[in-house]
């Protein structure tokens, strides 16, 4: 077993995390999130150029003539793959057909439309609401689970760690303007599960140690528990990150955002279960009596 003095850094990291959380909140309020068409409505077209003449500027100039409003075009993975997004209001049944016609006239037919997504404003509002509900319900369910399994001090520690992870992940998404779509909601829910998982394993050990080392102060007891579970924490993070990295690097463009959010979440989740969840136990003065009461 290693013996690292994690508890020496509790204050420092609590401070850093609070700072990051506040920055994230400010970012979310003032910069906001870059919602994809799932949540904002609009149309997305993934196009592959077969004709090498077709490039981003030729696409831009042909789309600018189509009266679609603000069209965003960017490369998507490969040089010859493009993602075209716009927020056309109102339904138009022949939209894609008309676009094809216009494209054929301006750049020829040396392209392939690989994917089309069109989400109406009503549906996108519902998806956003559904996503938020899913996240809220999952946080609630975790709170409930940990409340029946542990004492309230532990619940607060675990939930604050969860909020920390979700908040900072979203803050980073806001900062670098990554697109938030349905798969990001899935990633957040999985992060919630993972972060909880990691925290619970350490808490489990804290509880066991509270009974075993009655004389030990919670400040040192959390440190002992973190050290005892440290190799597990690291090994599991490593294997999970290995899996996520291979999705990120080889799983294709569509899963990039999802796996990136998950990678952030796993790193933050591992960090927070050590440096957020445990200091809270210390601050709430958890001791032997906290858990003995429960068992009577």
């Amino acid at each position: 077993m290693k013996n690292i003095q994690f508890n020496k850094y509790y204050k420092l990291f609590t401070l850093i995390s609070s700072g990051l959380a506040i920055i994230s909140i400010l970012l979310l309020i003032f910069k906001g999130l870059n919602f994809g068409i799932d949540f904002k409505g609009g149309t997305l077209i993934e196009l592959r150029a077969i004709d090498k003449q077709i490039n981003i500027s030729s696409l831009r100039s042909s789309f600018s003539k189509m009266n679609l409003g603000d069209v965003a075009i960017k490369n998507f993975g490969e040089d010859y793959d493009f993602l075209i997004k716009f927020e056309k209001k109102g339904p138009e049944k022949d939209l894609i057909q008309n676009i094809k016609k216009d494209l054929n006239a301006s750049i020829g037919s040396g392209y392939e439309i690989r994917r089309v997504e069109n989400v109406g404003p009503k549906v996108s509002a519902e998806l956003l609401k559904g996503g938020l509900i899913a996240i809220a319900v999952s946080l609630g369910a975790m709170l409930f689970y940990i409340w029946i399994r542990f004492e309230w001090q532990f619940s607060i520690g675990a939930i604050l760690a969860l909020f920390h992870d979700v908040l900072i992940t979203m803050g980073i998404f806001s900062l670098i303007g990554l697109e938030v779509n349905l798969s990001i909601v899935a990633a957040i829910l999985t992060i919630v599960g993972y972060s909880m998982n990691d925290t619970v394993v350490i808490f489990d050990r804290v509880r066991e140690n509270l009974k075993k080392h009655i004389d030990l102060k919670i400040f040192d007891l959390t440190n002992l528990s973190i050290n005892e579970t440290l190799s597990r924490t690291i090994i599991t993070s490593v294997t999970t990150l290995l899996a996520l990295l291979s999705i990120f690097l080889f799983g294709g463009e569509i899963l990039k955002g999802f796996s990136f959010a998950m990678i952030l979440g796993v790193i933050l989740g591992t960090y927070s279960s050590i440096f957020i969840a445990n200091p809270i136990l210390v601050n709430l003065k958890v001791n032997y009596k906290t858990i003995v009461k429960e068992e009577n």
């Binding site: 339904p91 899913a134 349905l182 190799s231 090994i235 990150l241």
Partner: protein
């Protein structure tokens, strides 16, 4: 914790073979329908089109109110109750006035559960209309359940028509489902250009035959209508309907042998034939219009009476457009217009690429995790890896057994499961290490390692499982696929850890009980 009876080993073996069999059945072809199960590929992997249609029920509600007004008129006339100023009020209401003397009587009629004036729905415990009155002015408004009932019945009709239209086009295994009370979800695997289906579903296909009015100005009882192809300027059409799509028995695309033009021929039912005959006998020389969804397709001059109940529509069709029109006419009109409010279409090329990328990521992620475990735990790493391989077979086997749908996020879920599945074994191995530090008897150390790590393992897995369940119920589309693989993955992980890995551990330590076992 480490003892396994022969029976138990046997059961584990059978279960493993069972799932192994189903995993492999994805790659083989068997005649038996029970054993030849395969995982369904989601639309994002096999390519295809997902459409969400919403019925615009406003016309249905207006029509219901109009019918109600007609009904109320005759009903109260028969009862000799004087009502007047009967008209549609706002969107969902009808308003009428009556004499002071009838106020109580009318109130009684509207709350009577048996009276057909205001039907009572037993299942909702609600009337169709809510009644309000101010002195002698009555307002009846469609109740919440009155509207639901109306929407449900229009959805039932619409889904039938949608099914017929899609079946006629003949796509591969379409999936057509109700969503809520005014939406229809259509999944069309393998269809990479849903243009034609979208066109077909976007049309109400309300067909009417009406006379063209001679007047060139707006007149009572006429509507100004445009031509579909814009070949002529708009003309005034009589409101009176000679024939509607309901009278149609059949419609087929044909090439007229004389003019070489593509036409749609139709035949009428008896009522329709009679009416059409009558109208054409009296209307020779007049122009009548064939109108589809408020646009004139063609407006020929009646050359002679048509009494055999068949005819043809010309309108400068291509063979494709004639085929589609005939299809629409055969399948009938939708009760209300529908809008496509969500569309997701993936071409087959992208689907194949996604599968390739997903499988590549799985192989690499799997290999990395396996290599890391061997590096970290040597022989016990091998045990954990064996359990991991079994875990994959179980997971894929279960997905196959239930013929679940695998999506790209679903594949991500499998890869993530691979990464997280070793966690339980890691928890156990680390615990055994700790136990060995103060317990001389190896067997006891191993045993208590298993016992003492159990709560942590359960807690850790339950939390992820909760997240997966919530995603399953609240997530949509491909995300559901992710929640399924993640959730099932947790179950198979626990099984593989507690049965496969524990069995192997037990066999290994019993064989080497006299040696020092390193972990």
């Amino acid at each position: 914790m480490l003892y396994f009876s022969k029976l138990r080993i046997f059961t584990i073996l059978i279960a493993s073979l069972f799932f192994l069999f189903f995993t492999l059945s994805n790659f083989t072809k068997l005649d038996d329908s029970f054993f030849n199960k395969k995982i369904n590929l989601g639309l994002d992997l096999q390519g295809g089109s997902y459409l969400l249609l919403e019925i615009d029920n406003k016309p249905v509600i207006t029509k219901e109110l109009q019918n109600k007004i007609t009904f109320l008129k005759t009903y109260f006339k028969d009862k000799n109750i004087n009502i007047f100023n009967l008209k549609i009020y706002n969107q969902n209401s009808i308003r009428f006035e009556t004499d002071e003397t009838n106020v109580e009587l009318i109130k009684d009629i509207f709350v009577d559960k048996e009276d057909p004036v205001n039907p009572f729905y037993e299942k909702y415990k609600s009337h169709q209309f809510d009644l309000e009155n101010q002195n002698n002015i009555f307002t009846i408004t469609l109740s919440k359940y009155g509207i639901i009932e109306l929407k449900n019945s229009s959805l039932d009709q619409a889904i039938e028509i949608v099914r017929r239209r899609i079946d006629e086009v003949g796509t591969n295994e379409p999936n057509i489902l109700k969503r809520g009370n005014d939406r229809i979800l259509v999944e069309l695997p393998g269809l990479d250009d849903p243009m034609r289906i979208k066109n077909l579903l976007g049309k109400t296909a309300n067909l009417t035959f009406r006379f063209v009015s001679k007047s060139t100005e707006a007149e009572f009882g006429t509507d100004l209508m445009e031509f579909e192809d814009g070949s002529e300027s708009p003309v005034y059409i009589n409101k009176r309907i000679i024939l509607s799509g309901e009278n149609l028995l059949d419609a087929q695309p044909r090439v007229d042998s004389q003019t070489n033009e593509t036409v749609v021929t139709f035949s009428l039912d008896r009522v329709g034939a009679k009416r059409f005959g009558k109208a054409t006998i009296s209307g020779v020389g007049k122009r009548f219009a064939i109108i589809l969804d408020d646009k004139i397709i063609s407006a020929p001059v009646i050359q002679e009476a048509i009494v055999d109940g068949s005819g043809q529509i010309t309108g400068g069709f291509t063979f494709q457009s004639a085929t589609d029109l005939a299809l629409l006419l055969r399948s009938g009109a939708l009760p209300a217009p529908m809008n496509i409010i969500e569309e997701r279409t993936v071409g087959p090329g992208l689907g194949k690429d996604s599968i390739k990328a997903g499988v590549l990521a799985l192989i690499i992620g799997f290999s990395l995790v396996i290599a890391f475990m061997i590096f970290k735990y040597k022989i016990f790493g091998l045990i954990a890896n064996t359990a991991l391989i079994f875990n994959l077979f179980f997971l894929v086997g279960i997905l196959t057994l239930f013929e679940a749908t695998l999506t790209l996020p679903g594949i991500a879920g499998i890869i993530l499961t691979v990464g997280m599945a070793v966690d339980a074994n890691v928890l156990i191995f680390e615990r055994i290490k700790e136990e060995k530090a103060h317990e001389k008897n190896q067997l006891i150390a191993f045993d208590s390692g298993y016992t003492k790590s159990r709560t942590a393992i359960l807690d850790a897995n339950i939390t992820t499982f909760i997240a997966a369940i919530i995603l399953f119920f609240l997530g949509s589309g491909p995300i559901k696929g992710f929640s399924i693989t993640l959730g099932v993955g947790i179950l198979t992980t626990l099984f593989s850890v507690y049965f496969i890995a524990r069995l192997l551990t037990s066999l290994y330590i019993v064989r080497n009980k006299d040696k020092e076992i390193k972990i």
